[in-house]
């Protein structure tokens, strides 16, 4: 629980519509600074129309990297969870720095989100954790459809399968990955199911017919 306690949040502009932050341990300090006394009451009235908003994430760590990378890097905090939104060009460097200098030694997860209406269609997300600091951080970057991104297998060995899954599900290529191929779907499958344009009932019928000898998998 040291995560939110660390960044000394200099009272950010209080998020609008936030009259009672339901007593969520991790969420409370960062997103709900102003309303401390109301805490012990039972959770109530979550149905307010406007939710919490991301607030700038202030910490020495952020200051340091902002100074180094300037506008390529944005840091914010939502519900007490910290996130870096960084430029695609900074990607291998910032991940390596986070591991080597900031002790984020455990790569929890790598995943992606598809926004087909955006120009840069994909968010690639790294969820990192530091055992010494007991702190989590997310790193996000945007890339266009068809663009590739440097692999982080040389930084965390666990990235191997995680990146293969992102490739399998979204078709995002990871440069210099040791063995980039599908992991959950069969090798010859066409399409990447977690893209938004891939229907929930859609299948690679050709593959199904050739390999399973049936008309359709439905």
């Amino acid at each position: 629980m040291a995560e939110e306690a660390k960044p000394p949040v200099p009272p950010p502009p209080p998020p609008e519509g936030e009259k009672k932050p339901a007593a969520e341990g991790r969420a409370a300090p960062a997103s709900a600074e102003p309303a401390k006394p109301a805490e012990p009451v039972k959770p109530a009235a979550p149905a307010k129309p406007a939710g919490p908003v991301p607030v700038p994430w202030m910490s020495p760590l952020v200051e340091k990297y902002k100074g180094q990378y300037g506008s390529g890097l944005d840091a914010h905090s939502y519900l007490g969870q910290n996130c870096f939104a960084v430029d695609r060009s900074l990607i291998p460097d910032i991940l390596r720095l986070l591991r080597d200098e900031e002790q984020f030694d455990y790569c929890v997860d790598i995943t992606a989100v598809h926004y087909p209406q955006r120009e840069k269609q994909f968010d690639v997300v790294w969820i990192l954790y530091s055992f010494p600091r007991n702190e989590r951080v997310r790193v996000k970057t945007q890339i266009a459809d068809g663009a590739s991104i440097p692999s982080s297998v040389s930084i965390w060995a666990t990235a191997n399968w995680l990146e293969r899954e992102v490739y399998d599900m979204f078709g995002i290529e990871f440069e210099s990955h040791p063995d980039l191929k599908r992991i959950l779907l069969p090798d010859g499958w066409k399409g990447h199911p977690l893209r938004k344009d891939y229907g929930i009932l859609q299948q690679d019928n050709e593959w199904v017919q050739i390999n399973l000898g049936i008309e359709s998998g439905q």
Binding site: Y78, V108, D109
Partner: protein
Amino acid sequence: MNDSTHDASNRGLSNLELETPEKPYLDSNELIINMGPQHPATHGVLRVILKLDGEKVLGTECVIGYLHRGVEKIAENRTYTMFNPYVDRMDYVAAVSNGLGYCEAVEKLMNVEAPARAKYIRVILTELNRIASHQLWLGTHALDIGAMTPLFYTFRDREEILKIFERYCGARLTTHAFRIGGCQYETYAGFEKDVKNFLAFVAPKIDEYEELLTTNRIWIERTKNVGVISAADAIALGVTGPVLRASGVKWDLRKAQPYAAYSEFNFDIPTGTNGDTYDRYLVRMAEMRQSLRIIEQAVNGIPEGPIMAKVPKIIKPPVGEIYHSIEAPKGELGYFIVSDGSTQPYRLRVRPPSFVNLQALDTMVRGLLVADVVAVIGTIDIVLGEVDR
């Protein structure tokens, strides 16, 4: 078995000449064989391609996905409430943990908190499920190695846990015990008594399992120094749960970033030192006892009060994203949810402990014998429903 590199004609009867002693009995050709996907020791449909030199494992490659159902895609096409039962089908031997992680993640995204009574019920059921999961692991793992008795003992005792689940929510395996905002059901009359009876019943049974195995010569031979993984390797490979703790890393999300009501209970984090199969066995045995401690404290202190927070009938979290993870019996189970403000998740990612832990198999079995691969697959404790999702 699919023998692809070995030239079988070398060993044909016609070539069998007794007077050629310089010809080695075992040649050193590399042999590539398939283990699984239909193989009882792979705990489901896991296929491992083994590269062997005689009996020695030179390398492995896991082929997974046979059980892939597209859980994350389904999530994007269901409402938050409708998706809740699906999570039980990932790690189906620890369905309660899956449900807890999912409900807490959505609650966090909506900024609500389950009432204290619901949290206690959640802790009791989750810890019972942890014991059930470890019992199932122990029975099947011991069976893989050749000890058949523990299977009957653990299944006999696990039944008592499933009976409590059945009385509580009507289901034994895929329980769907929790709802977003708390619990659907109040505890039944006699719930606390049942749980207390179970605690008294199972404590000596765990000693019984240990009597069968802990000092058993064959068990020690088969597990000591088998499948060793160092703490540094485990961290680099993202391994969590008992496998990480057996390598000496004292890390448990219930302590590190407490969720539900875990900060209110006293318990220890058992760790090992060698990171081998035997230590992982000891860690899980100790964890069962710690779970009993937690349940005992929880069942004696269940507060009165509501079991559901005030959640709207239609769940519509505000725009935003959240990552929430819990300590499932197999390791860190995380949910990363992106909400676009509608009733369905825009993206829901499950961070499955079995999937990530399985990746360490190759590191753990290199240089061992084929029989040890079976032991190591068992000791990682995977559930293919969660690996493949």
